[in-house]
Subunit: 521 residues, 2 copies
């Protein structure tokens, strides 16, 4: 795609068709400025088939805001829409609407309360609450979901992989398997969620991180073809990068040539006063090869150089590798803990694609201004779990006496439960499930939503990526270990206050009665 076309495709028209047809309809009826409120939330954690997440890490908000501030309908956009036809062959969008879209179609009327990036979030909790004029809020739906769903998905995956690697350095290597330009957002989200560095050069620099990498198989192939062999490639690399010497040892025969050649080069480096960084294993039985390599490196007097693993890794693969190392290493005279503490992980595909699932985040209308008052809106559904929690709401995280986050609670916007003596918590979908928390069970109640955007302007000092990482670490430390299990995690409680639950029940009943009545009439 040519750059000038890309600019248009990534601008205001980076949205779904039905938002534009709806916006025109609202404009014709004079409803386009009517104020509405939408919630962004997801319904279930990512599920990777044989394992699933028990929490998510929120990410993507800052880039959404950047998109909003730049998206306008210029002449090119208007011209494209002008060319669009209905099935009768007439124009789909009329001049009135297109003039309005060109002159007033921006996000200056949008206000957002949101959870901060890096924080742990759970299903059904409004992560971003958006209010603004109806037409532009509706047009925002798809770009908002696009920005927030993907980065939250990837930040979550990164947190899981980082945990599986027991906090050892995690390098994001996914650009080659990442979804086209989505790679940039993938790298950012990985850095927020748990990756320490990325191999992606440009975006790393722009986010304030030094890109990291080893060398390519191609380097070894080239030196072999020139008759200088694998050792020639290693020597050339060590000479060029004596303090950054991480050698890829699997191009020919990992244990037969790769590791012995690396050790020779490390010895040469050491004699020159440099400290070799390590080796990288990129194929074969990574646990076994790590153990055997560790034994060889130990014997050669390099007990501390790193062993970087890559190739098909994700949280389960790393968990398996570490389990195998714990079992198998002693047989080769290698201390498993020492080996595990010298490992680093290069994770590509299954980090930037999340491996096998998506985040089902949605954007649902919850309230509308009518006659100067906010009226809660409802969407019932064939599937009860898809019925929205209506109205303006607040979100609270309740910590128990051990400082463990024990529930996220949704209340009506007018409620303040931070000092309530008793909390009655209702399951968001199942009528029969509720529990009561007394004050004696609670250490503190924290509001989660922050006033981030007011009438299109930034209203807060956004955290840096390093601060987001710190928020993530802090939230994870308050999470029950059961919730953090890689497989079959404990279910974190998300509940509705009694007031909110009663409102929802009442509106569901009214909606069904009204519609059946109006249909029958």
């Amino acid at each position: 795609m040519k750059p000038q076309d890309r600019k248009v495709a990534e601008g205001l028209l980076f949205t779904d068709q039905y938002h534009l047809t709806s916006a025109q309809l609202y404009h014709r009826l004079g409803l386009h400025e009517r104020r509405v409120q939408f919630d962004y939330f997801f319904r279930r954690y990512p599920n990777y088939g044989d394992h699933q997440a028990g929490f998510c890490v929120f990410a993507g908000f800052e880039w959404l805001y950047d998109w909003m501030t730049g998206a306008r309908a210029g002449e090119r956009e208007i011209e494209l829409l002008r060319g669009q036809t209905s099935n009768s062959g007439s124009r789909l969008f009329d001049d009135d609407f297109l003039d309005w879209l060109r002159d007033e179609g921006d996000f200056s009327g949008i206000t957002i309360d949101a959870v901060l990036e890096g924080r742990v979030v759970h299903p059904h909790v409004p992560i971003a609450v958006v209010s603004g004029p109806l037409a532009m809020t509706q047009i925002l739906e798809t770009p908002l979901l696009n920005h927030l769903n993907y980065q939250t998905l990837i930040a979550t995956k990164a947190a899981r992989i980082h945990a599986a690697g027991r906090g050892r350095p995690l390098l994001e290597f996914g650009l080659r398997r990442a979804p086209d330009r989505g790679a940039l957002a993938g790298t950012r989200a990985a850095l927020i969620g748990g990756a320490d560095y990325s191999s992606n050069v440009g975006v790393s620099h722009l986010l304030g991180f030094q890109p990291k990498g080893t060398h390519a198989h191609g380097l070894v192939q080239v030196f072999m073809a020139m008759g200088e062999g694998e050792i020639g490639a290693f020597r050339a690399f060590a000479e060029a990068y004596p303090d950054d010497c991480l050698l890829l040892v699997d191009t020919v025969d990992t244990l037969g040539s790769g590791v012995p050649n690396a050790i020779r080069v490390f010895e040469e480096l050491r004699r020159k006063g440099h400290r070799p960084l390590g080796i990288r294993l990129d194929s074969g039985d990574l646990a076994y090869l790590a153990i055997r390599s560790a034994a060889m490196l130990d014997a050669a007097g390099f007990p501390d150089v790193a062993i970087t693993l890559s190739s098909g890794l994700d949280e389960l693969a790393i968990w398996q590798i570490l389990t195998q190392i714990e079992e198998e290493a002693p047989r080769y005279g290698v201390d498993p803990d020492h080996l595990i503490n010298r490992l680093m992980y290069g994770v590509g595909t299954r980090l930037v694609t999340s491996g096998s699932d998506n985040l089902d985040g949605v954007f649902k209308a919850v309230a509308m201004e009518l006659d100067g008052e906010w009226k809660p809106l409802l969407k019932v559904s064939e599937s009860p779990a898809k019925t929205v929690n209506p109205g303006d709401k607040r979100v609270w995280r309740v910590y128990d006496k051990r400082e463990t986050a024990t529930a996220d609670v949704l209340t009506r916007g007018s409620e303040d439960i931070s000092r309530a003596p008793l909390l009655e918590l209702h399951h968001p979908v199942r009528k029969d499930l509720r529990r009561t928390l007394g004050r004696q069970d609670i250490s503190r109640v924290e509001p989660l939503l922050v006033a981030t955007i007011r009438d299109g302007e930034r209203a807060f000092d956004p955290p840096t990526i390093e601060e987001m990482r710190e928020l993530r670490r802090r939230d994870l430390s308050h999470l029950d270990p059961g919730v953090k299990r890689l497989v079959n995690p404990h279910v974190y409680h998300v509940s509705l206050s009694r007031e909110l639950w009663e409102l929802k029940e009442r509106l569901v009943g009214e909606a069904k009665t009204n519609e059946r009545g109006s249909q029958a009439s």
Copy 2:
């Protein structure tokens, strides 16, 4: 991300760190202009867990070429690299290299032979063969993989979903779950692979397609809040878009209010001389609701309006829905074939993310110029399937007497098998598997690679997206039905010619001997 930063992150630095360190090393040794050849190929079809692909549809090449023509290291890029430090604190990239990168770091020396987009492709087959100067060819590796892997993955998924829907209209609805800006490439690939239209407004227009959509749940919610009910929303939509009236009927109660209200509005439209388009079902048991809706629409005299299904669809879900319709529809007096022929599909998440897997495409050095001659390169591996097929090669598709594609054959670049009396075909990995095809078994042998780029310049007239779709339809029609099975497909044969097989065997033996020898010395 700010637009000026995005431009930098998506330019020449949209690559992996190790390519730049390798490039500097080559530059220092004067090897950077040495001509090399790399193959792009994938090793296995996408595997979706309980089902897997038996073919892929190639896509992404045109956008790769657009990237190559625009990627240069300007002052900003050079400045970022100048700021990068080694572990000793000194600069990682020196001025010599950065000057060269700024002045000569483009892709004007790159030549590519490639399969055309839209064509069916298989594992181990070189889909793009890239030759050029060593340093820049290496830097191209990651962006090339990024562009081709993702689009091929999505085009393949689209072809599968389209087939499952028996060719009925397929709408790509995935922008909200797509990976950030990768959405644009996802939509393009979906259109090449099997989607008829997309809801993504900007990129649809720029690719020459009218974006398509229905209306949002929000529209119904708004009218309900205003006391005008679902029917009010439907009437307003029908009035604004009388010839494009596709109504979303599941906001309150699909069969209790949605479909009856839609029928009333359709009757009003008909009286005004318009033809209603259809309804959309977006939750619940889609097969059951489609049957019951069809019965109601039939009874009301609308046997032809479309029933669009969406929500969690992929090829297996559609297959299940159609099977259920075939079983269950007669009980409600609905003809299953008639119903299936009025269905349309809106597929989002599992199309633009492929659902659950990636394409493992790689870029491997296969030859290098030495003393004026091309020398085949090898990468052996711990995993035999990862050992590359060395040297310059040609790719041929062999059709049998029924015009079914029966094998893709890789030969050495000097071979022409188009008229060979006998073909000896070797399995690419397993020594014990080979077969012989006589001329009497063959209707024709087609070369697959096209000269697309010569020294950075376009050397062919690229197909339009419509032509790519036609290539895909044609290739699929030549594929054995067993290969197209959604679950457990028949394995398509990819083979090496005897000459190529012998070359590979010889080089593997030499590499192992040489490296073990050099290591022992």
